[in-house]
Amino acid sequence: MTIRPFRLSVLTLSLFIPAALCAVVLFLVIYSGQAILFNGLHFITDINWNLGDLYDDPVTVNGISVPSGANYGIWVFIAGTLASSTIAILIAVPLSVGAAIFLAEAVSPKIRPILSLLVELIAVIPSVVFGLWGIAVLVPFISHYLSPTGNGYGLLAASIVLALMITPIIASTLLDALMQVPRENRESAFALGATHFEVVAKAMMPMVRTTLVGGIVLALGRALGETMAVLMVSGGGINILPDSLFSPISTIASFVVSQLDSAQADPTNMSVRALSEVALVLFVITLAVNAAAKLLASGALNVRNRK
């Protein structure tokens, strides 16, 4: 076997990708080690995130030095993440399904590229610009017309912004799938006397169902990890579970950003370690969701091949 320097060098370059991923996981695990030991399972179930008294002498618990009174629990942020992402999906799915159907079937092929370009462009707007729009337009709107307390920042604002951001993911996935439905299937449905809408709803949609679910799960993965837009409009609630659409919330991702300053003030470094554990939890959640999306996508492919 001969050594091929060119192949070897591009192989090395491509190995950077797995190496970077492994480094991310490894260092997050190593760094959060002490925090994992200190927090145990309470980390997931506690609703209280308390940095403790950063100016008092640190106390030692099980050989780990922590600020006195410190307690790290992220159930509030998990709840905030799940609530905002779920509501975002509930808003985004009907909108994007309707938009994709309209683009695929009701629009002339001449203007379809322009409209689908517009839908795709939503996905490239930076999330911080969505957040800016949320603060400037959406939050005042909610506080004037919807919120009983007059507070616009909160779960609803975060969910709407998230919904806008994930709509193009679902819509373009579904649009691609609808455009690939074989002509024979459409025409046989028409030949049976179905109206155009019945052809779409009863003949085409069942064929692309798996792809649609895959797109929704992919969008969910994006929504769970979204940071800036949520941080800017969510109101940053901590230590209290959201009880209405207008409660201030924090998601896991937005909480990590908002804690930078206080974490740096901790002399024992415990809060930086605990935040590392938070990031690890977020990584695991999004990994699971994205893996599910991938499985669904490959499943859809198998079904199509079998036919």
Binding site: P18, L95, A99
Partner: protein, 290 residues
């Protein structure tokens, strides 16, 4: 068109109901499309209106001072971070794309592809926090240009690899075979035949990666820091400013001047991102026709 179609058949109530249901369905779908596109137009409109009215010469010639001043340091910082990130990421991403496309039809290739997808799906804040504990704390670089650039590079390498791979796959196999038949070596075939043939695709990938790095915020908060001054030429131990930071912090200030700066920064970022994405899509569509 049939001969017996002279008198239209009587429609039963059931048929009428089906037609009406269909029409309601189409109207609902049209409204859905409107509701999807309207926010985009509103976002672009609001940002453009507020941003353009904040434009002045001072914006591009002076640095931020507290929550006022210009945007010189932020513009410079964003350009620096983007250039450094691209310098790190393009060789790795394009190299990885070459490997995946030309030699990646095996277990190793699909494993790398899968892990690359995992990295793409990882929230950017997780990458930012990783860089924070490794580069900023453990290596002691502090908030710095290099930490920020490496973080953005990790973020965009998977995109570059994927798009390069797709672009190289578009080059027909006969071109490779013709090259090898002339006695060309592997690197010659890749660099002289395949890469030039796929150049527009690779450039597309690089431009999209550039757009991503200009618009990113979350990973920079934990790596770049913030400063009111322009760059002094140090890669570590010196924080850098960036445009997206201005957007998310200045909009929370109470005064109109900082709001204007936030919108101006948003407009600059949005112009770059939209120009690249619209341009790339028009270009790709045209080359496909040719």
């Amino acid at each position: 068109m049939s001969a017996t179609a002279n008198s239209p058949p009587q429609r039963s109530t059931q048929e009428i109901r089906r037609v009406i249901t269909g029409n309601i369905g189409w109207v609902a779908c049209g409204i859905a499309l409107l509701l999807v596109i309207a926010p985009l137009i509103d976002i672009v409109g609001v940002v453009a209106y507020n941003g353009f009215s904040a434009f002045s010469l001072k914006l591009f010639t002076t640095s931020t001072k507290g929550a006022g001043g210009g945007l010189l340091n932020a513009i410079e910082g964003t350009i620096l971070i983007t250039i450094c990130a691209m310098v790190i990421a393009v060789p790795i991403g394009v190299g990885a794309g070459i490997h995946l496309s030309e030699y990646g039809k095996n277990k190793l290739g699909s494993t790398i592809r899968f892990l690359s997808d995992v990295l793409t799906g990882t929230p950017s804040i997780v990458l930012g926090y990783f860089s924070y504990i490794v580069f900023v704390i453990a290596l002691g670089w502090g908030f710095s240009l290099l930490a920020a650039a490496i973080t953005i590079a990790i973020l965009i390498v998977p995109y570059l690899a994927r798009i390069t791979e797709l672009a190289l796959q578009q080059v027909p196999n006969t071109m490779r075979e013709a090259g090898f038949a002339l006695g060309a070596s592997e690197p010659t075939v890749v660099f002289k035949i395949i890469l030039p043939g796929a150049a527009s695709g690779v450039v597309t990938g690089a431009l999209l990666a550039l757009a991503i790095s200009v618009g990113e915020t979350a990973p920079l908060i934990y790596t770049a820091g913030w400063t009111n001054f322009v760059w002094h030429g140090r890669f570590t131990h010196e924080p850098v400013s960036y445009l997206t930071y201005v957007i998310w912090t200045f909009i929370d200030q109470p005064d109109a001047q900082s709001h204007a700066l936030a919108f101006a920064a948003a407009l600059l970022v949005m112009l770059v991102v939209l120009a690249i994405n619209v341009g790339v899509r028009l270009l790709v569509r045209r080359t496909k026709l040719v």
